[in-house]
């Protein structure tokens, strides 16, 4: 019996009808996989396309004359570099430079921004932004309930979606978006994703969820499109070395430790956590998030202990088989002296000490 306490997206019935295996995913009743299974779903996204319901993700609108100033104060990346229709990966930072959340900032206009935030963090993020808005002339709205969000991912995404769209999708560059119609339904059409593939994330009226979902699945069938569950989403994002909040990043790991120095723009002006991050940059990191590959046969899972020269030196933050690469991979924070590519270390896999090595990331990069 479905647990009535769980939150449901507007596509819940559609997932059940399609044989989705439903689990409690951070309080949401979500499909972990469909009958095709995680491996097949993963491979389809790499070779054809997959469709994901990610409506559990949160959406927050920040608008008003000082919307940009507020976002600049909350995030380390430089939101002033955004043009209308552009998207930026960023972070809501704590005073110690750790993560409240990682987010996508979409600029609708000079004084209107749309944030896509993690499902489990959306209430916390909204409260965080509200707690820090006092000095700013802005309006902050949690509009998570107003949107269904689905992600069409994979090399065939464009050809599947184009016939349903009233705009030229090929004109939307990676990390840009446009407002358009998908089969007559107004949608934010963003060229983003969490899989390492080309694709689109669509935000639209929940009342249209099932019709649009089914329509895309039907249109994509000849191209090999499959509905995909959150297990495939996880293995796909891991191959692409995209961090997962709660696993790889949280309020105990700094943005620099997470190897996201590229989004720390110290010259843009002050932001929450800037002093700490700058000090950490100047004094040098003591640990850093790296990608690893198993050398010995075995799979490192989330939270398994890392051993460097026999001593416990951290934990695996994400570990899994990589279905496309056919390797066993993972992410972990290692002592900085052990983060060089090719460095060997061990992972305690249920009592067996198995060899692993630091490798170049992303593990998987699509050909452009």
């Amino acid at each position: 019996m479905p647990n009535t306490q769980l939150r449901k997206t507007a596509l819940n019935e559609a997932h059940r009808r399609a044989g989705g295996k439903m689990i409690d995913f951070g309080g949401w009743d979500m499909p972990i996989q469909y009958p095709a299974g995680t491996l097949e779903e993963h491979l389809r996204v790499r070779t054809a396309a997959g469709l994901f319901d990610v409506s559990h993700m949160g959406e927050i609108e920040v608008s008003g004359p000082e919307a940009l100033a507020l976002l600049q104060s909350l995030t380390p990346n430089d939101a002033a570099l955004l043009a209308d229709g552009q998207i930026q990966y960023s972070v809501l930072t704590t005073p110690s430079g750790t993560f409240v959340d990682d987010i996508l900032i979409h600029r609708f206009g000079p004084d209107r921004f749309f944030l896509c935030v993690n499902a489990s963090n959306s209430d916390k993020d909204f409260a965080w932004i509200c707690d820090h808005r006092a000095k700013f002339d802005v309006e902050v709205k949690n509009c998570s309930a107003n949107y269904t969000q689905i992600a069409l991912q994979g090399p065939k995404s464009l050809e599947i979606l184009q016939p349903m769209a009233d705009v030229d999708l090929s004109a939307i560059k990676y990390y840009w978006f446009t407002n358009g119609l998908i089969d007559g339904v107004p949608a934010i059409i963003a060229r983003t994703g969490y899989t390492g593939e080309d694709g689109f994330e669509l935000y639209f009226d929940p009342d249209e969820s099932e019709r649009i979902w089914e329509k895309i699945l039907e249109a994509g069938k000849p191209s090999g499109l499959l509905p995909c569950g959150l297990a495939a989403r996880n293995t796909l994002r891991l191959e692409a070395k995209m961090a997962l909040y709660g696993n790889d990043i949280d309020d105990t790991t700094t943005v620099l430790e997470a190897d996201l120095g590229r989004i720390c723009k110290f010259n843009k002006g002050d932001f929450i956590g800037r002093d700490h991050l700058l000090a950490q940059k100047q004094s040098g990191l003591t640990r850093k998030l790296v990608g690893f590959e198993m050398i010995d046969k075995g799979i490192a899972r989330d939270h398994y202990p890392i051993l460097v020269e026999g001593r416990e030196a951290g934990i695996v933050t994400s570990g899994s088989p990589a279905p496309f690469l056919k390797k066993n991979i993972g992410l972990a924070y290692l002592p900085i002296e052990s983060t060089g590519i090719g460095t060997h270390f061990e992972i305690d896999v249920r009592g067996r000490k198995l060899a692993a090595q630091v490798v170049k990331t992303p593990f998987y990069q699509r050909s452009k």
Partner: protein, 131 residues
């Protein structure tokens, strides 16, 4: 819907055993493979290893998780399914036939009598689902 063939006996750890003479063929149930999802690796013992009933004889790993394998009976391993090394997905596609794991020579064929029948196991699975 999980399948529950009637020619085999089951355990509450979701293994099955098919007895042929003094040999038992052992694998995991359809329900177990459904719960695990795509199997990517099966760790099996060597021929000649001896186990007591409910000993761990190996491990099955899926994309998402892993599970220990428990032998339902006491005896000596006489064969392991070599095909699983290259095709672990047989555990998903054919849990009761091509996805078998080990053959074991039974010390005491009477041990099997204490295991669950098809209907008893199905009732057990249904009761688990309701929890």
């Amino acid at each position: 819907m999980a399948a529950y063939p009637e020619d085999i006996q089951y355990t509450k750890d979701h293994e099955w055993i098919r007895v042929q003479g003094d040999t038992g063929i052992i694998g995991i149930t359809d329900f177990a493979q459904e719960q695990l999802g795509d199997v990517v690796h099966v760790q099996l013992p060597k021929v000649g290893e001896k186990f007591s009933a409910r000993d761990t004889f190996g491990e099955v790993e899926s994309v998402k998780t892993f599970s220990e394998l428990f032998t339902p009976v006491t005896g000596e391993v006489t064969a392991v399914n070599e095909a699983l090394a290259d095709s672990p997905e047989l555990v998903n596609s054919s849990p009761y036939n091509d996805g078998w794991m080990i053959k074991i020579r039974l010390n005491d064929p009477g041990e099997v009598d204490g295991l669950l029948s098809s209907t008893e196991y199905e009732d057990f699975v249904e009761s688990q689902k309701e929890e």
